[in-house]
Symmetry: C2
Subunit: 198 residues, 2 copies
């Protein structure tokens, strides 16, 4: 069967997005056809605009459309504490706690020799330059609790410690609201090791 080219194009475009299968791509494409012209234009503009305007913050490497990101730009934030995360989504996750008042540093990845990602491929150099320039008291390593995240945290901590800056790591333990029965043994072990007096 000959296909309707513009429709097939749109379905293909949606199908290339992560987590979108053929059926979902079809549904999204038909939804776009049911939108009005202004809405479709707004969607298309949002795509190109986000892509062209967004770049890395000159301080923390998080994504922004200005020279510095809103967090680095906020004088109320405590710039003497830097939370080092893997990517921008982690910044959003910490910001949702509404409690952390320090700043961030976004690595844009983790060191992963198996995938050919070395320290020079993530923003380690930018972090070190930032630490030597400014008055930072503590760096919190908040990479993911995976083997690669852990290795990256230890690698960076070793580089920072000689600078006389305190380095800490996120606490391991059982997640709030979880069922102990389903916790894996490593998490339980870490939770026992890290137990606190009450």
């Amino acid at each position: 069967m000959k296909k309707v080219v513009p429709l097939q194009n749109l379905i293909n475009q949606f199908e290339r997005l992560p987590g979108i299968g053929h059926k979902s791509a079809q549904r999204l494409a038909f939804h776009v056809l049911s939108m009005n012209e202004k809405e479709v234009q707004a969607f298309a503009d949002a795509l190109t605009e986000a892509h062209s305007k967004i770049h890395r913050c000159e301080k923390c490497c998080d994504l922004t459309d200005e020279q510095f990101c809103p967090i680095c730009d906020d004088p109320a934030r405590d710039s003497s504490t830097i939370c080092v995360v893997e990517d921008s989504r982690d910044v959003m996750a910490f910001e949702r706690t509404h409690e952390y008042n320090g700043v961030y540093h976004v690595l844009h990845g983790v060191i992963s020799p198996l995938n050919g990602v070395g320290p020079e491929d993530i923003t380690v150099k930018e972090l070190l330059a930032r630490l030597s320039d400014t008055n930072v008291k503590e760096v919190i390593m908040a990479t993911n609790p995976t083997a690669e995240g852990e290795a990256t945290a230890i690698f960076i901590a070793r580089l920072i410690k000689p600078m006389g800056i305190e380095v800490s790591r996120l606490a391991y333990g059982v997640p709030v609201g979880a069922d102990l029965e389903y916790a894996d043994e490593f998490t339980l072990l870490k939770a026992i090791e890290g137990r606190k007096k009450i």
Copy 2:
């Protein structure tokens, strides 16, 4: 926290699509940022192009970017049999069988008094005009096997029968590969009623 406007815009646009929650919208937006400029432009163009170029086929009301859809335009298709479906996705589903060689008529909805959809809101008029103009021998009512799909099929069948055209309805029964244990009683009843000699 002040947000990065172009990024937030893009996340909001994805979030408005059906079946996309906030987390997925975030993931899709970050994926777009990781695409190269050409890919993003192609995506944006696919959106606006599909929306501006696609309209209904003048014969069958299916979606196309030309006067007639590829199926109506194909001289090898048997135009004396019309399969009446609810929307374009149903056409795609039947085409995947690679067996049906007739043409289609897309209703773009079903009659649903509860949702304020009457016969004049779907393409019943276009179907009747088409039947009186051309030499159609059989109309297959292939609306969904739901209460509304069934009612729509019966409504349209009553209009067509006086024209001396044969009207049929999709067979009801147990789906191929299904487990009888989990079939609902209506489906089983229909399967027994429609049993065939072997």
